[in-house]
Symmetry: C2
Subunit: 358 residues, 2 copies
């Protein structure tokens, strides 16, 4: 029995990703080997890597003067390697919650950090608007979607300095103008694929000119991964394979624009119900509401029903809607592979619950 999965990540993936990855684990094409066994230096795996990068470039419309890298360690490792490589003196960070704060903490190990905008004053229930970016910083860092608070920015910043973005949780959910970024990174385990692989999109010019003058270990140098085609050491082969399958699925169903259309449809339907339903409300300001992570709470009068609604939903095969411990309430994460049927099932459960309780 397949469930309506609203996990915040790892999360629901396309059926074809699961099926084709399972198949490749039994045998990769007709290689006589599993994707778990094949040498990363073999033609068979090089073909997987090449196809992944080609699909990635096509999907995100990445110009030729950018590299696409796949590394390990998750976005959390990028929080450190970004400033290790690029923070010479001072960097600007936008604080939109836990993940930004983690990135800021690591950056402070390498230089000065200026918080140029923050949503801390209202418990991160909005995405700062009209952000003014100083010109005397090495780069500005932004977390474009905040899984915990459910806020998101839907535009690409205009910036006088290089923009570095953590897009872990909204990559591939809307068209992005890559040329406005020096570096985009993220863990794959939301819209792209399984946990265990991290993507980096990096501008060659930035890599060539912006690296700080400090000793950087080999594996933390973006230049090393760029030069070696992400093959300086053994890459996470099966994770990259599954990512490729997700890219292929996105292409087959209409690309990023279709993903955006679906995301808007799912989010609109769910927020409409939250706003309508007597039991629930959304803490996030309109205009900042994430399409990926839809956060909602029980209104004060109904607050004691928290656990009961989670149980009520799970009896309807709806899972993963418990809110993050820092926020409470509920969070329905509707990433690219989520179906409108999943959202309908949740909306239906909310309506039924309202009938019983309101």
């Amino acid at each position: 029995m397949k469930k309506h999965i609203f996990n915040a990540g790892p999360c629901k993936l396309p059926a074809s990703t699961l099926e084709n990855t399972a198949k490749a684990i039994l045998e990769l094409n007709n290689s006589g080997q599993s994707i778990l066994e094949v040498s990363h230096r073999s033609k068979d795996f090089q073909a997987v890597m090449d196809e992944t990068i080609e699909l990635f470039r096509e999907t995100f419309n990445i110009p030729a003067d950018y590299h696409v890298l796949f590394v390990g360690g998750g976005a959390s490792t990028q929080f450190a390697t970004v400033p290790m490589n690029f923070l010479k003196k001072k960097a600007a960070y936008i604080n939109t919650g836990v993940w930004s704060e983690k990135a800021i903490k690591e950056a402070k190990l390498f230089g000065e950090v200026e918080i140029i905008a923050s949503s801390e004053d209202k418990k991160h229930t909005y995405f700062p608007k009209g952000i003014k970016i100083p010109t005397d910083v090495d780069y500005v860092h932004i977390t474009t979607n905040n899984t915990i608070y459910g806020t998101e920015i839907f535009e690409d910043l205009n910036s006088p300095v290089p923009v570095i973005a953590d897009m872990s949780s909204d990559i591939m959910s809307r068209p992005v103008d890559v040329t406005k970024y020096a570096l985009i990174y993220g863990g794959a385990q939301k819209n792209l694929g399984p946990a265990g692989v991290t993507f980096v999109i990096i501008k060659d010019e930035f890599l060539k000119t912006a690296v700080a003058d400090r000793p950087i270990p080999t594996m933390f140098k973006y230049s090393v991964h760029a030069k070696s085609g992400s093959m300086n050491n053994t890459p996470p082969c099966v994770n990259i394979f599954a990512l490729k399958e997700t890219l292929a699925w996105v292409k087959s169903v209409g690309g990023v624009k279709k993903m955006e259309k679906n995301a808007i449809e799912r989010a609109d339907m769910l927020y409409a119900e939250i706003d309508r339903n007597k039991l629930f409300s959304a803490p996030v300001e309109k205009g900042s509401r994430s399409r990926m992570n839809i956060v909602f709470v029980l209104n004060e009068k109904y607050a004691p029903l928290q656990d009961e609604f989670i149980k009520f939903a799970s009896e309807r095969n709806i899972i993963g809607i418990k809110g993050h411990r820092d926020v409470g309430g509920f969070r329905a994460s509707a990433y690219n592979a989520s179906l409108i049927e999943d959202v309908k099932a949740l909306v239906e459960a909310m309506k039924e619950f309202e009938k019983l309780k309101a």
Copy 2:
């Protein structure tokens, strides 16, 4: 058609690892979710992680005062994080070839490195014996098996200082006395599982007392991974699952002792044929010959037959025997999942080739 796989890593894995991982990708137990989809914070995945650690502890007979960690980035990342965490002033390194040299290069970024033994004088065709370890170093680092040159040490060092070992390519192929090590690390992609997960066995006392006084990014602190049970951020879930399956297979067929017996049997058979065959010889000294990576070359007279033998073998479904570019010749990597039948097929091919050419 399954092949006789002699890849240096990623490499042949047990059939049950492939089958059960493929199954879990379609659905993890009866969770209604794929191992690629399940939240790492869920009970379903926590059970996978707990079982993996338990099996790991049991397999390697790990005392209670050690932590077992799973991280990303491969052993190459450990080359840097080891000295970042533990090199205060000076560390001793044993140079047995390319992988040791890579570890040494990273260590030099953090402090003084004393090479206390090296096989460089004879192109790394032997493993240094009677190594004298100084007492004025923070730790001694050893690479226990050298995939490129095919040398291996079969004993645990007696050392007056903490021993740190890269066991990427021979872990689980012989019983190891873990109590003689402060830290053991390695990429999983040889005996343990697929690429994309790195194991660390670390002594609590060492972690508590030996950390250098320098700013260390969160993700590079062993203490962070120890405290969080390798869940500080999303771990490489499917890679850990496949590793667990390999541990379960090893247990089911007789544990590490059985792996050692099989490794000796395979290696003895292949080295015997190399020593007997008129065409081939082994460059590595007896006593240092790796059971995991069996390196051999064509004798001078037959050297031009290099490519022909690789083709000859591949026609018999034998793959992955081309030697590393730094050494040339051939390398048959016979890790834990290799069958004596695989080795027999190679020996048979060598005999046939001898009949044709000698």
